[in-house]
Protein backbone atom coordinates (compact mmCIF):
# COMPACT_ATOMS: atom_id res chain seq x y z
CA UNK A 1 0.00 0.00 0.00
CA UNK A 2 2.72 2.38 1.04
CA UNK A 3 4.46 1.69 -2.20
CA UNK A 4 1.40 2.39 -4.27
CA UNK A 5 0.76 5.71 -2.55
CA UNK A 6 4.42 6.61 -3.01
CA UNK A 7 4.08 5.83 -6.69
CA UNK A 8 0.97 7.96 -6.88
CA UNK A 9 2.71 10.83 -5.14
CA UNK A 10 5.65 10.41 -7.46
CA UNK A 11 3.29 10.54 -10.41
CA UNK A 12 1.68 13.74 -9.12
CA UNK A 13 5.08 15.31 -8.52
CA UNK A 14 6.06 14.57 -12.11
CA UNK A 15 2.95 16.32 -13.36
CA UNK A 16 3.68 19.24 -11.07
CA UNK A 17 7.21 19.58 -12.44
CA UNK A 18 5.80 19.46 -15.96
CA UNK A 19 3.21 22.07 -15.13
CA UNK A 20 5.84 24.31 -13.56
CA UNK A 21 7.96 24.00 -16.69
CA UNK A 22 5.01 25.01 -18.88
CA UNK A 23 4.22 28.01 -16.67
CA UNK A 24 7.87 29.05 -16.77
CA UNK A 25 7.86 28.80 -20.57
CA UNK A 26 4.63 30.77 -20.77
CA UNK A 27 6.13 33.64 -18.79
CA UNK A 28 9.45 33.56 -20.66
CA UNK A 29 8.41 36.39 -23.02
CA UNK A 30 8.36 38.71 -19.99
CA UNK A 31 12.00 38.30 -19.13
CA UNK A 32 13.72 37.11 -22.32
CA UNK A 33 14.99 39.37 -25.07
CA UNK A 34 13.33 39.01 -28.46
CA UNK A 35 16.39 37.24 -29.80
CA UNK A 36 16.51 34.72 -26.94
CA UNK A 37 12.77 34.18 -27.14
CA UNK A 38 12.88 33.29 -30.81
CA UNK A 39 15.77 30.93 -30.04
CA UNK A 40 13.71 29.26 -27.34
CA UNK A 41 10.76 29.07 -29.73
CA UNK A 42 13.02 27.32 -32.23
CA UNK A 43 14.15 24.82 -29.59
CA UNK A 44 10.56 24.06 -28.70
CA UNK A 45 9.72 23.47 -32.36
CA UNK A 46 12.67 21.06 -32.41
CA UNK A 47 11.24 19.40 -29.30
CA UNK A 48 8.07 18.60 -31.27
CA UNK A 49 10.23 17.10 -33.99
CA UNK A 50 12.10 15.06 -31.37
CA UNK A 51 8.82 13.62 -30.07
CA UNK A 52 8.06 12.34 -33.56
CA UNK A 53 11.51 10.79 -33.91
CA UNK A 54 11.17 9.18 -30.49
CA UNK A 55 7.91 7.46 -31.50
CA UNK A 56 9.75 5.89 -34.40
CA UNK A 57 13.15 5.23 -32.95
CA UNK A 58 12.73 5.08 -29.19
CA UNK A 59 9.54 3.07 -29.13
CA UNK A 60 9.33 1.21 -32.44
CA UNK A 61 13.05 0.80 -33.05
CA UNK A 62 13.20 2.29 -36.55
CA UNK A 63 16.09 4.71 -36.93
CA UNK A 64 15.45 7.37 -39.55
CA UNK A 65 18.41 9.49 -40.58
CA UNK A 66 16.29 11.45 -43.01
CA UNK A 67 13.88 13.32 -40.81
CA UNK A 68 15.35 16.60 -41.98
CA UNK A 69 13.44 16.00 -45.21
CA UNK A 70 10.03 15.78 -43.53
CA UNK A 71 10.86 18.73 -41.32
CA UNK A 72 12.15 20.63 -44.36
CA UNK A 73 9.08 19.86 -46.46
CA UNK A 74 6.85 21.26 -43.72
CA UNK A 75 9.00 24.35 -43.49
CA UNK A 76 9.19 24.80 -47.29
CA UNK A 77 5.41 24.51 -47.71
CA UNK A 78 4.95 27.23 -45.11
CA UNK A 79 7.74 29.33 -46.61
CA UNK A 80 6.13 29.15 -50.06
CA UNK A 81 3.02 30.76 -48.62
CA UNK A 82 5.09 33.37 -46.75
CA UNK A 83 7.05 34.16 -49.92
CA UNK A 84 3.90 34.61 -51.98
CA UNK A 85 2.42 36.87 -49.33
CA UNK A 86 5.63 38.90 -49.31
CA UNK A 87 5.50 39.15 -53.11
CA UNK A 88 1.97 40.58 -52.84
CA UNK A 89 0.59 39.14 -56.07
CA UNK A 90 3.90 39.44 -57.91
CA UNK A 91 6.66 36.90 -58.43
CA UNK A 92 8.84 35.93 -55.42
CA UNK A 93 12.20 37.73 -55.65
CA UNK A 94 14.40 34.68 -56.30
CA UNK A 95 12.21 33.60 -59.23
CA UNK A 96 12.72 36.88 -61.03
CA UNK A 97 16.46 36.59 -60.41
CA UNK A 98 16.41 33.10 -61.93
CA UNK A 99 14.61 34.41 -64.99
CA UNK A 100 11.13 33.00 -64.39
CA UNK A 101 8.35 35.21 -65.67
CA UNK A 102 5.35 33.21 -64.51
CA UNK A 103 4.53 31.57 -61.19
CA UNK A 104 4.96 27.76 -61.59
CA UNK A 105 1.63 25.90 -61.38
CA UNK A 106 2.50 24.02 -58.20
CA UNK A 107 3.25 27.27 -56.40
CA UNK A 108 -0.17 28.74 -57.12
CA UNK A 109 -2.29 27.01 -54.45
CA UNK A 110 0.28 27.95 -51.82
CA UNK A 111 -0.96 31.54 -51.90
CA UNK A 112 -3.72 30.27 -49.59
CA UNK A 113 -2.37 30.02 -46.06
CA UNK A 114 -4.56 27.16 -44.92
CA UNK A 115 -3.70 25.11 -47.98
CA UNK A 116 0.01 25.69 -47.34
CA UNK A 117 -0.24 24.79 -43.65
CA UNK A 118 -2.29 21.70 -44.49
CA UNK A 119 0.24 20.58 -47.08
CA UNK A 120 3.07 21.25 -44.61
CA UNK A 121 1.79 18.26 -42.65
CA UNK A 122 0.14 16.18 -45.37
CA UNK A 123 3.04 16.26 -47.83
CA UNK A 124 5.73 14.87 -45.47
CA UNK A 125 3.22 12.37 -44.08
CA UNK A 126 2.30 11.20 -47.58
CA UNK A 127 5.95 10.87 -48.59
CA UNK A 128 6.63 8.77 -45.49
CA UNK A 129 3.55 6.65 -46.14
CA UNK A 130 4.63 5.82 -49.70
CA UNK A 131 8.27 5.27 -48.81
CA UNK A 132 7.33 3.28 -45.70
CA UNK A 133 4.85 1.11 -47.57
CA UNK A 134 7.39 0.21 -50.25
CA UNK A 135 10.15 -0.40 -47.70
CA UNK A 136 8.30 -2.31 -45.02
CA UNK A 137 6.23 -4.38 -47.46
CA UNK A 138 9.46 -5.79 -48.85
CA UNK A 139 10.65 -6.40 -45.27
CA UNK A 140 13.52 -3.93 -45.54
CA UNK A 141 14.40 -2.98 -42.00
CA UNK A 142 17.08 -2.12 -39.51
CA UNK A 143 20.20 -0.55 -40.89
CA UNK A 144 18.99 -0.94 -44.49
CA UNK A 145 15.98 1.21 -43.74
CA UNK A 146 18.26 3.75 -42.08
CA UNK A 147 20.50 3.91 -45.14
CA UNK A 148 17.44 4.44 -47.32
CA UNK A 149 16.30 7.40 -45.24
CA UNK A 150 19.80 8.83 -45.44
CA UNK A 151 19.69 8.51 -49.22
CA UNK A 152 16.34 10.29 -49.14
CA UNK A 153 17.93 13.24 -47.35
CA UNK A 154 20.72 13.36 -49.91
CA UNK A 155 18.30 13.19 -52.85
CA UNK A 156 16.14 16.00 -51.52
CA UNK A 157 19.06 18.29 -50.84
CA UNK A 158 20.39 17.77 -54.37
CA UNK A 159 16.91 18.26 -55.80
CA UNK A 160 16.26 21.47 -53.87
CA UNK A 161 19.66 22.95 -54.68
CA UNK A 162 19.39 21.97 -58.33
CA UNK A 163 15.93 23.42 -58.91
CA UNK A 164 16.87 26.96 -57.94
CA UNK A 165 14.13 28.73 -59.95
CA UNK A 166 11.47 26.79 -58.06
CA UNK A 167 13.06 26.28 -54.63
CA UNK A 168 15.45 29.15 -54.12
CA UNK A 169 18.44 26.82 -54.42
CA UNK A 170 21.17 26.88 -51.79
CA UNK A 171 19.87 30.09 -50.29
CA UNK A 172 16.49 28.55 -49.61
CA UNK A 173 13.46 30.69 -48.93
CA UNK A 174 13.78 33.77 -46.77
CA UNK A 175 12.79 37.48 -46.60
CA UNK A 176 9.22 37.05 -45.50
CA UNK A 177 7.06 39.98 -44.48
CA UNK A 178 3.72 38.95 -43.10
CA UNK A 179 1.76 35.92 -41.98
CA UNK A 180 -2.02 36.13 -42.49
CA UNK A 181 -1.49 39.88 -42.81
CA UNK A 182 0.45 40.32 -39.54
CA UNK A 183 4.04 41.55 -39.64
CA UNK A 184 6.42 38.76 -38.72
CA UNK A 185 8.95 41.25 -37.37
CA UNK A 186 6.60 42.66 -34.77
CA UNK A 187 7.34 41.39 -31.31
CA UNK A 188 3.70 40.65 -30.48
CA UNK A 189 3.45 38.35 -33.52
CA UNK A 190 6.66 36.61 -32.52
CA UNK A 191 5.39 36.20 -28.97
CA UNK A 192 2.12 34.76 -30.29
CA UNK A 193 4.02 32.32 -32.49
CA UNK A 194 6.11 31.34 -29.48
CA UNK A 195 2.98 30.69 -27.42
CA UNK A 196 1.42 28.70 -30.27
CA UNK A 197 4.57 26.59 -30.35
CA UNK A 198 4.18 25.84 -26.64
CA UNK A 199 0.55 24.92 -27.23
CA UNK A 200 1.46 22.50 -30.02
CA UNK A 201 4.30 21.04 -28.02
CA UNK A 202 1.92 20.29 -25.17
CA UNK A 203 -0.71 18.90 -27.54
CA UNK A 204 1.82 16.72 -29.35
CA UNK A 205 3.18 15.48 -26.04
CA UNK A 206 -0.28 14.59 -24.75
CA UNK A 207 -1.15 12.92 -28.04
CA UNK A 208 2.03 10.81 -28.00
CA UNK A 209 1.47 9.95 -24.36
CA UNK A 210 -2.06 8.81 -25.01
CA UNK A 211 -0.85 6.81 -27.99
CA UNK A 212 1.94 5.09 -26.09
CA UNK A 213 -0.40 4.32 -23.20
CA UNK A 214 -2.78 2.44 -25.49
CA UNK A 215 -2.51 -1.14 -26.65
CA UNK A 216 -1.15 0.28 -29.88
CA UNK A 217 1.80 1.75 -27.99
CA UNK A 218 2.60 -1.60 -26.43
CA UNK A 219 2.48 -3.22 -29.86
CA UNK A 220 5.02 -0.69 -31.12
CA UNK A 221 7.39 -1.63 -28.30
CA UNK A 222 6.70 -5.26 -29.17
CA UNK A 223 7.74 -4.56 -32.77
CA UNK A 224 11.04 -3.21 -31.44
CA UNK A 225 11.59 -6.28 -29.26
CA UNK A 226 10.61 -8.98 -31.73
CA UNK A 227 9.03 -8.11 -35.03
CA UNK A 228 8.61 -11.77 -35.91
CA UNK A 229 6.70 -12.48 -32.74
CA UNK A 230 4.37 -9.56 -33.53
CA UNK A 231 3.79 -10.94 -37.00
CA UNK A 232 3.13 -14.39 -35.58
CA UNK A 233 0.73 -12.92 -33.06
CA UNK A 234 -1.52 -11.95 -35.94
CA UNK A 235 -0.54 -8.31 -36.42
CA UNK A 236 0.85 -6.89 -39.64
CA UNK A 237 4.10 -5.18 -38.58
CA UNK A 238 4.46 -3.53 -41.99
CA UNK A 239 1.21 -1.61 -41.55
CA UNK A 240 2.06 -0.67 -37.97
CA UNK A 241 5.42 0.67 -39.06
CA UNK A 242 4.00 2.59 -42.01
CA UNK A 243 1.51 4.17 -39.62
CA UNK A 244 4.19 5.27 -37.14
CA UNK A 245 6.53 6.50 -39.85
CA UNK A 246 3.71 8.55 -41.38
CA UNK A 247 2.73 9.98 -38.03
CA UNK A 248 6.32 10.83 -37.21
CA UNK A 249 6.79 12.59 -40.56
CA UNK A 250 3.57 14.56 -40.05
CA UNK A 251 4.82 15.71 -36.64
CA UNK A 252 8.12 16.72 -38.27
CA UNK A 253 6.14 18.78 -40.79
CA UNK A 254 4.31 20.53 -37.95
CA UNK A 255 7.67 21.33 -36.37
CA UNK A 256 8.78 22.72 -39.74
CA UNK A 257 5.86 25.17 -39.79
CA UNK A 258 6.62 26.46 -36.31
CA UNK A 259 10.34 26.63 -37.08
CA UNK A 260 10.16 28.66 -40.27
CA UNK A 261 7.71 31.24 -38.94
CA UNK A 262 10.01 31.99 -36.00
CA UNK A 263 13.41 31.61 -37.60
CA UNK A 264 12.53 33.24 -40.90
CA UNK A 265 14.51 31.00 -43.24
CA UNK A 266 14.56 27.47 -44.58
CA UNK A 267 17.31 26.17 -46.82
CA UNK A 268 18.54 22.77 -48.01
CA UNK A 269 21.32 22.94 -45.41
CA UNK A 270 18.66 22.46 -42.72
CA UNK A 271 17.17 19.29 -44.19
CA UNK A 272 20.25 17.31 -45.21
CA UNK A 273 22.09 14.41 -43.67
CA UNK A 274 23.92 16.37 -40.97
CA UNK A 275 20.88 18.06 -39.45
CA UNK A 276 19.01 14.75 -39.70
CA UNK A 277 21.71 13.09 -37.63
CA UNK A 278 21.63 15.97 -35.16
CA UNK A 279 17.92 15.38 -34.64
CA UNK A 280 18.58 11.80 -33.68
CA UNK A 281 21.29 12.92 -31.26
CA UNK A 282 18.79 15.12 -29.41
CA UNK A 283 16.68 12.07 -28.71
CA UNK A 284 19.69 9.90 -27.84
CA UNK A 285 21.00 12.47 -25.37
CA UNK A 286 17.60 13.10 -23.80
CA UNK A 287 16.77 9.43 -23.51
CA UNK A 288 15.02 7.50 -26.22
CA UNK A 289 11.85 5.71 -25.40
CA UNK A 290 10.79 8.45 -22.99
CA UNK A 291 8.75 11.36 -24.29
CA UNK A 292 10.04 13.78 -21.67
CA UNK A 293 13.59 12.77 -22.59
CA UNK A 294 13.03 13.67 -26.23
CA UNK A 295 11.87 17.18 -25.25
CA UNK A 296 14.67 17.73 -22.75
CA UNK A 297 17.26 16.44 -25.21
CA UNK A 298 16.09 18.70 -28.03
CA UNK A 299 16.07 21.81 -25.84
CA UNK A 300 19.32 21.13 -24.00
CA UNK A 301 21.41 20.07 -26.99
CA UNK A 302 20.23 23.05 -29.00
CA UNK A 303 20.76 25.45 -26.11
CA UNK A 304 24.26 24.04 -25.71
CA UNK A 305 24.77 24.34 -29.44
CA UNK A 306 23.80 27.99 -29.62
CA UNK A 307 25.87 28.93 -26.56
CA UNK A 308 28.84 26.86 -27.57
CA UNK A 309 28.82 28.00 -31.18
CA UNK A 310 28.65 31.63 -30.09
CA UNK A 311 31.89 31.06 -28.14
CA UNK A 312 33.72 28.62 -30.42
CA UNK A 313 32.05 28.68 -33.85
CA UNK A 314 34.32 26.04 -35.35
CA UNK A 315 34.41 23.53 -32.55
CA UNK A 316 30.70 22.86 -32.22
CA UNK A 317 30.52 19.85 -34.52
CA UNK A 318 33.37 18.14 -32.64
CA UNK A 319 31.60 18.80 -29.40
CA UNK A 320 28.37 17.38 -30.76
CA UNK A 321 30.16 14.29 -32.03
CA UNK A 322 31.73 13.80 -28.63
CA UNK A 323 28.37 14.23 -26.95
CA UNK A 324 26.95 11.48 -29.13
CA UNK A 325 29.82 9.12 -28.40
CA UNK A 326 29.47 9.82 -24.69
CA UNK A 327 25.74 9.26 -24.88
CA UNK A 328 26.20 5.92 -26.59
CA UNK A 329 29.08 4.69 -24.42
CA UNK A 330 28.31 6.08 -20.99
CA UNK A 331 24.63 6.81 -20.78
CA UNK A 332 22.77 4.83 -23.43
CA UNK A 333 19.44 5.73 -21.81
CA UNK A 334 20.24 9.41 -22.04
CA UNK A 335 19.59 12.06 -19.44
CA UNK A 336 16.38 10.38 -18.34
CA UNK A 337 18.30 7.18 -17.77
CA UNK A 338 20.87 9.06 -15.68
CA UNK A 339 18.10 10.50 -13.54
CA UNK A 340 16.84 7.07 -12.75
CA UNK A 341 20.16 5.25 -12.39
CA UNK A 342 22.88 7.51 -11.06
CA UNK A 343 21.41 8.19 -7.62
CA UNK A 344 21.08 4.48 -7.04
CA UNK A 345 24.69 3.94 -7.93
CA UNK A 346 26.02 6.71 -5.71
CA UNK A 347 24.13 5.87 -2.56
CA UNK A 348 21.00 4.26 -1.38
CA UNK A 349 18.50 6.79 -2.49
CA UNK A 350 16.62 7.34 -5.67
CA UNK A 351 15.48 10.63 -7.06
CA UNK A 352 11.94 9.35 -7.48
CA UNK A 353 11.84 8.05 -3.93
CA UNK A 354 13.07 11.37 -2.61
CA UNK A 355 10.51 13.31 -4.55
CA UNK A 356 7.85 11.01 -3.16
CA UNK A 357 9.12 11.59 0.38
CA UNK A 358 9.16 15.32 -0.16
CA UNK A 359 5.63 15.22 -1.45
CA UNK A 360 4.48 13.25 1.57
CA UNK A 361 6.03 15.68 4.01
CA UNK A 362 4.43 18.57 2.14
CA UNK A 363 1.07 16.84 2.42
CA UNK A 364 1.47 16.35 6.17
CA UNK A 365 2.03 20.05 6.71
Amino acid sequence: MARISALKANFRVKWLIGLAAIVLLLFAPLFLSEFRLSLLGKFLAFAILALGIDLMWGYTGMLSLGHGVFFGLGAYCTAMYLKLEAAAGGLPDFMSWSGLTKLPWFWKPFQYGWFALGMAIILPAALAAVLGYLTFRSRIRGVYFTILTQALALVFVILFIGQQPYTGGTNGLTNYKTIFGYYLTSSSVQTTLYLITILFLVLTYLFCRRLMGSRFGRILVAVRDSEDRVRFSGYDPALLKVFVFTLSAGIAGLAGILFVTQVGIISPAMMGIVPSIEMVIWVAVGGRGTLTGAIIGAVLVNAAKSNFSELFPDAWSYFLGMLFILAVLLFPDGIMGLFNKLPRRFGQFSLNGNIAKMWKSIQKK
Binding site: S214, F216, I219, S226, R229, R231, F232, Y235, L240
Partner: protein, 249 residues
Protein backbone atom coordinates in the same frame (compact mmCIF):
# COMPACT_ATOMS: atom_id res chain seq x y z
CA UNK B 1 -13.63 -33.85 -33.64
CA UNK B 2 -12.36 -36.29 -36.15
CA UNK B 3 -10.78 -35.69 -39.51
CA UNK B 4 -7.75 -33.88 -40.79
CA UNK B 5 -6.94 -30.32 -39.80
CA UNK B 6 -4.02 -29.80 -42.14
CA UNK B 7 -3.00 -31.45 -45.41
CA UNK B 8 0.43 -31.07 -46.89
CA UNK B 9 0.72 -32.58 -50.33
CA UNK B 10 3.83 -32.95 -52.46
CA UNK B 11 5.67 -30.09 -50.77
CA UNK B 12 9.04 -29.16 -52.23
CA UNK B 13 11.15 -26.34 -50.84
CA UNK B 14 14.49 -25.49 -52.34
CA UNK B 15 17.06 -22.98 -51.19
CA UNK B 16 19.34 -22.09 -54.09
CA UNK B 17 18.96 -25.52 -55.60
CA UNK B 18 19.29 -27.42 -52.33
CA UNK B 19 16.04 -29.24 -51.68
CA UNK B 20 15.33 -28.78 -47.98
CA UNK B 21 12.04 -30.57 -48.44
CA UNK B 22 11.45 -32.91 -51.34
CA UNK B 23 7.94 -33.93 -52.32
CA UNK B 24 6.71 -34.40 -48.77
CA UNK B 25 3.13 -35.20 -47.77
CA UNK B 26 1.82 -35.03 -44.21
CA UNK B 27 -1.58 -35.06 -42.56
CA UNK B 28 -2.34 -34.01 -39.01
CA UNK B 29 -5.68 -34.77 -37.37
CA UNK B 30 -7.87 -32.61 -35.18
CA UNK B 31 -6.93 -32.84 -31.48
CA UNK B 32 -3.79 -34.76 -32.23
CA UNK B 33 -0.43 -34.41 -30.48
CA UNK B 34 2.08 -35.22 -33.19
CA UNK B 35 5.84 -35.31 -32.80
CA UNK B 36 8.24 -34.64 -35.61
CA UNK B 37 11.76 -35.94 -35.18
CA UNK B 38 14.77 -36.49 -37.39
CA UNK B 39 18.49 -35.81 -37.65
CA UNK B 40 19.82 -32.27 -38.15
CA UNK B 41 19.05 -30.88 -41.57
CA UNK B 42 16.13 -33.20 -42.12
CA UNK B 43 13.88 -30.22 -42.86
CA UNK B 44 11.74 -30.20 -39.71
CA UNK B 45 11.93 -26.48 -39.03
CA UNK B 46 11.48 -25.71 -42.72
CA UNK B 47 8.31 -27.80 -42.64
CA UNK B 48 6.93 -25.65 -39.81
CA UNK B 49 7.98 -22.57 -41.78
CA UNK B 50 5.94 -23.78 -44.74
CA UNK B 51 2.81 -24.30 -42.63
CA UNK B 52 3.02 -20.90 -40.96
CA UNK B 53 3.69 -19.13 -44.25
CA UNK B 54 7.25 -18.06 -43.59
CA UNK B 55 8.56 -20.09 -46.49
CA UNK B 56 6.59 -20.50 -49.69
CA UNK B 57 7.01 -23.96 -51.23
CA UNK B 58 8.13 -24.26 -54.83
CA UNK B 59 5.72 -27.13 -55.36
CA UNK B 60 2.80 -28.63 -53.52
CA UNK B 61 -0.19 -27.50 -51.54
CA UNK B 62 -0.97 -26.82 -47.90
CA UNK B 63 -4.67 -26.96 -47.07
CA UNK B 64 -5.91 -25.91 -43.64
CA UNK B 65 -9.19 -27.44 -42.50
CA UNK B 66 -11.28 -28.17 -45.56
CA UNK B 67 -10.48 -25.65 -48.19
CA UNK B 68 -8.17 -22.86 -47.01
CA UNK B 69 -5.09 -22.67 -49.22
CA UNK B 70 -2.21 -21.37 -47.09
CA UNK B 71 -0.12 -20.40 -50.12
CA UNK B 72 -2.01 -17.19 -50.80
CA UNK B 73 -1.95 -15.97 -47.20
CA UNK B 74 0.54 -13.80 -45.37
CA UNK B 75 1.93 -14.93 -42.01
CA UNK B 76 -0.27 -12.70 -39.86
CA UNK B 77 -3.35 -13.79 -41.80
CA UNK B 78 -2.45 -17.42 -41.21
CA UNK B 79 -2.21 -16.70 -37.47
CA UNK B 80 -5.68 -15.16 -37.59
CA UNK B 81 -6.96 -18.36 -39.25
CA UNK B 82 -5.89 -20.27 -36.14
CA UNK B 83 -2.35 -21.51 -36.74
CA UNK B 84 0.19 -20.44 -34.11
CA UNK B 85 3.94 -20.86 -34.22
CA UNK B 86 6.55 -21.06 -31.51
CA UNK B 87 10.16 -20.48 -32.43
CA UNK B 88 13.25 -22.45 -31.53
CA UNK B 89 14.78 -19.61 -29.54
CA UNK B 90 11.98 -18.19 -27.43
CA UNK B 91 10.67 -14.96 -28.95
CA UNK B 92 8.96 -12.80 -26.35
CA UNK B 93 8.62 -9.04 -25.97
CA UNK B 94 11.51 -8.42 -23.58
CA UNK B 95 10.67 -4.89 -22.49
CA UNK B 96 7.00 -5.58 -21.85
CA UNK B 97 5.68 -7.32 -18.76
CA UNK B 98 4.61 -10.94 -18.79
CA UNK B 99 1.01 -9.73 -18.48
CA UNK B 100 1.36 -7.40 -21.47
CA UNK B 101 2.96 -10.15 -23.52
CA UNK B 102 -0.18 -12.22 -23.11
CA UNK B 103 -2.43 -9.18 -23.59
CA UNK B 104 -1.05 -8.50 -27.05
CA UNK B 105 -1.42 -12.14 -28.00
CA UNK B 106 -5.14 -12.36 -27.21
CA UNK B 107 -7.41 -13.24 -30.04
CA UNK B 108 -8.87 -9.84 -30.85
CA UNK B 109 -9.20 -7.38 -33.69
CA UNK B 110 -5.59 -6.86 -34.61
CA UNK B 111 -5.87 -3.98 -37.09
CA UNK B 112 -3.98 -0.73 -36.56
CA UNK B 113 -7.00 1.37 -35.66
CA UNK B 114 -8.64 -1.29 -33.55
CA UNK B 115 -5.56 -1.39 -31.32
CA UNK B 116 -5.50 2.41 -31.10
CA UNK B 117 -8.92 2.45 -29.49
CA UNK B 118 -8.85 -0.94 -27.80
CA UNK B 119 -10.52 -0.95 -24.42
CA UNK B 120 -9.17 -3.18 -21.73
CA UNK B 121 -11.93 -5.08 -19.95
CA UNK B 122 -11.93 -6.99 -16.70
CA UNK B 123 -12.93 -9.98 -18.78
CA UNK B 124 -9.65 -9.64 -20.69
CA UNK B 125 -7.81 -9.54 -17.39
CA UNK B 126 -9.48 -12.75 -16.22
CA UNK B 127 -8.58 -14.50 -19.45
CA UNK B 128 -4.97 -13.31 -19.22
CA UNK B 129 -4.66 -14.52 -15.63
CA UNK B 130 -6.13 -17.90 -16.51
CA UNK B 131 -3.47 -18.28 -19.20
CA UNK B 132 -0.80 -17.16 -16.76
CA UNK B 133 -1.95 -19.80 -14.29
CA UNK B 134 -1.82 -22.46 -16.98
CA UNK B 135 1.83 -21.69 -17.66
CA UNK B 136 2.61 -21.07 -13.98
CA UNK B 137 3.67 -17.45 -14.37
CA UNK B 138 0.77 -15.75 -12.58
CA UNK B 139 3.12 -14.68 -9.77
CA UNK B 140 5.36 -12.96 -12.31
CA UNK B 141 2.65 -11.07 -14.19
CA UNK B 142 4.29 -7.67 -13.61
CA UNK B 143 7.85 -8.80 -14.31
CA UNK B 144 9.53 -7.73 -17.55
CA UNK B 145 9.66 -10.70 -19.89
CA UNK B 146 13.32 -10.00 -20.62
CA UNK B 147 14.32 -10.88 -17.06
CA UNK B 148 12.69 -14.32 -17.06
CA UNK B 149 14.77 -17.49 -16.99
CA UNK B 150 15.13 -19.37 -20.25
CA UNK B 151 12.58 -22.05 -19.34
CA UNK B 152 10.11 -19.41 -18.21
CA UNK B 153 10.48 -17.61 -21.52
CA UNK B 154 9.66 -20.86 -23.28
CA UNK B 155 6.54 -21.15 -21.18
CA UNK B 156 5.59 -17.54 -21.73
CA UNK B 157 5.76 -18.06 -25.46
CA UNK B 158 3.59 -21.15 -25.14
CA UNK B 159 1.16 -19.05 -23.09
CA UNK B 160 1.17 -16.41 -25.81
CA UNK B 161 0.28 -19.10 -28.32
CA UNK B 162 -2.57 -20.32 -26.12
CA UNK B 163 -3.86 -16.74 -25.79
CA UNK B 164 -4.16 -16.67 -29.57
CA UNK B 165 -6.70 -19.47 -29.14
CA UNK B 166 -5.38 -21.40 -32.13
CA UNK B 167 -6.63 -24.65 -33.57
CA UNK B 168 -3.18 -25.80 -34.62
CA UNK B 169 0.00 -25.15 -32.65
CA UNK B 170 3.42 -25.51 -34.25
CA UNK B 171 6.12 -25.86 -31.62
CA UNK B 172 9.80 -25.86 -32.51
CA UNK B 173 11.87 -27.52 -29.77
CA UNK B 174 9.73 -26.23 -26.93
CA UNK B 175 11.61 -27.97 -24.11
CA UNK B 176 15.11 -26.97 -25.18
CA UNK B 177 16.96 -25.56 -22.18
CA UNK B 178 14.40 -26.77 -19.66
CA UNK B 179 15.21 -28.78 -16.55
CA UNK B 180 13.93 -32.34 -16.28
CA UNK B 181 11.09 -31.26 -14.04
CA UNK B 182 10.12 -28.39 -16.31
CA UNK B 183 10.19 -30.73 -19.29
CA UNK B 184 7.88 -33.12 -17.48
CA UNK B 185 5.41 -30.32 -16.73
CA UNK B 186 5.54 -29.08 -20.30
CA UNK B 187 4.74 -32.53 -21.64
CA UNK B 188 1.70 -32.75 -19.42
CA UNK B 189 0.65 -29.29 -20.56
CA UNK B 190 0.87 -30.38 -24.21
CA UNK B 191 -1.26 -33.42 -23.54
CA UNK B 192 -3.87 -31.17 -21.93
CA UNK B 193 -3.73 -28.73 -24.84
CA UNK B 194 -4.13 -31.51 -27.38
CA UNK B 195 -7.49 -32.43 -25.90
CA UNK B 196 -9.07 -29.57 -27.80
CA UNK B 197 -6.39 -28.48 -30.28
CA UNK B 198 -3.93 -30.01 -32.69
CA UNK B 199 -0.28 -29.77 -31.74
CA UNK B 200 2.72 -30.44 -33.98
CA UNK B 201 5.98 -30.58 -32.03
CA UNK B 202 9.50 -30.69 -33.43
CA UNK B 203 11.75 -32.11 -30.76
CA UNK B 204 15.25 -33.46 -30.26
CA UNK B 205 14.83 -34.60 -26.69
CA UNK B 206 14.20 -38.31 -27.27
CA UNK B 207 13.21 -39.04 -23.71
CA UNK B 208 10.58 -36.34 -23.92
CA UNK B 209 9.25 -37.79 -27.15
CA UNK B 210 9.22 -41.31 -25.70
CA UNK B 211 7.25 -40.17 -22.66
CA UNK B 212 4.60 -38.13 -24.36
CA UNK B 213 4.26 -39.12 -28.01
CA UNK B 214 1.51 -41.27 -29.34
CA UNK B 215 2.32 -40.79 -32.98
CA UNK B 216 5.73 -39.82 -34.25
CA UNK B 217 6.79 -38.81 -37.74
CA UNK B 218 10.45 -39.25 -38.64
CA UNK B 219 11.95 -36.98 -41.27
CA UNK B 220 15.21 -37.45 -43.10
CA UNK B 221 16.77 -35.51 -45.97
CA UNK B 222 13.65 -33.54 -46.74
CA UNK B 223 11.17 -36.35 -46.70
CA UNK B 224 9.24 -38.59 -44.38
CA UNK B 225 11.04 -41.75 -43.43
CA UNK B 226 8.30 -43.40 -41.45
CA UNK B 227 5.42 -42.72 -39.14
CA UNK B 228 3.89 -44.55 -36.20
CA UNK B 229 4.21 -45.25 -32.50
CA UNK B 230 7.52 -44.61 -30.78
CA UNK B 231 8.00 -48.33 -30.33
CA UNK B 232 7.56 -49.08 -34.00
CA UNK B 233 9.86 -46.28 -35.00
CA UNK B 234 12.66 -47.30 -32.69
CA UNK B 235 12.78 -50.70 -34.30
CA UNK B 236 12.57 -49.49 -37.87
CA UNK B 237 15.85 -50.27 -39.64
CA UNK B 238 15.55 -47.20 -41.87
CA UNK B 239 15.33 -44.94 -38.83
CA UNK B 240 18.27 -46.61 -37.13
CA UNK B 241 20.32 -46.14 -40.25
CA UNK B 242 19.34 -42.49 -40.62
CA UNK B 243 20.25 -41.70 -37.04
CA UNK B 244 23.29 -43.86 -36.60
CA UNK B 245 24.38 -44.61 -40.13
CA UNK B 246 26.04 -41.35 -40.99
CA UNK B 247 28.24 -41.30 -37.95
CA UNK B 248 29.19 -44.94 -38.05
CA UNK B 249 29.92 -45.52 -41.67
Amino acid sequence: MAGTIIYLEGITVSFNGFKAINGLSLYVDYDELRFLIGPNGAGKTTLLDVICGRVKPAKGRVIFKEDIDIYEKQEHEIVRLGISRKFQTPAVFASLTVFENIELSLRQNRGVFASLFAKFTSEDEDIIYSHLETIGLDQKARVKAGSLAHGEKQWLEIGMLLAQDPELLLLDEPVAGMTKKETEKTGELFQAIAKSRSVLVVEHDMEFVRNFAKRVTVMNEGNILCEGTMERIQNDPKVIEAYLGRGWK
